[in-house]
Symmetry: C2
């Protein structure tokens, strides 16, 4: 999906949710698309300082409800957000334990398929209805390793 595809799709999803796609929300989506991985609120403010913090929080909630963005939880104290997977592509996160940075990566299709099937099986066995999975890899990024 290209930048404007996401933009268009966001407009459709928001309309479906009876929400407007305002300038501020467009800028927010643009900022998230520009990142290499999920961004914190601070990252977003840094990327576009015309956006006040409270509006970012408020609009992220709206965009999340409309399935345009997704909240990503990592181990540091800041919530992170990214464009929803169905507007981009299924992927996972490399989380650096040293600097807290998060980078996207993907598994090969074969492994992903095997995993997905095993997960559905396991969920079923536990009387659980699986919707999606989140797989994070914890480690040290190249930058932090060379610094240590």
């Amino acid at each position: 999906m290209t930048f404007s595809d996401v933009d268009n799709e966001a407009a459709v999803l928001l309309k479906k949710a009876n929400q407007r796609y305002t300038e501020g929300r467009r800028r927010l989506v643009a900022a998230l698309q520009a990142g290499k991985g999920p961004l914190t609120i601070a990252d977003i403010v840094a990327a576009d300082d015309t956006l006040p913090q409270s509006s970012i929080y408020r609009n992220l909630v709206i965009l999340e409800e409309a399935n345009v963005v997704a909240r990503v939880v990592t181990s540091d104290d800041f919530a992170r957000y990214e464009i929803a997977e169905h507007l981009t592509h299924h992927h996972h996160h490399l989380i650096c334990k040293a600097c807290g940075d998060v980078i996207d990566f993907a598994l090969d299709a074969q492994t992903e398929a095997t995993l997905d099937q095993a997960l559905h099986q396991a969920a079923h066995d536990a009387g659980f209805t699986a919707e999606s999975h989140q797989l994070d890899l914890l480690g040290t990024c190249g930058d932090c390793r060379s610094e240590s």
Copy 2:
């Protein structure tokens, strides 16, 4: 590992970290062992109301540093803790999007091995040093499904 194995191991790990294994810390470890999955601070207080909140927070930090417990991050606003995997066994989490409850589950060894290898490969390709992975399944638990 049995209950007392974990207890003994916790004592060793704390000693190694120059920390005492006090009554409060024992009760904390016991409460975590009793849970079916990672517990929130509120869960712990509910399980053992002799433990004051502030001591729970403080001791969880100590126990985490000593590698006795691990912090588990989910999508709700509460931190959760569990006994460290090396004292129990490698497992994953089923997270209910409706009630926020978290339940442990495991993948079969074969799938886990495949996954682990694919992850190391992917991490390596990204110049990342992988240490561990965290895989969560998001969905709806049996209880919540029957209620809706």
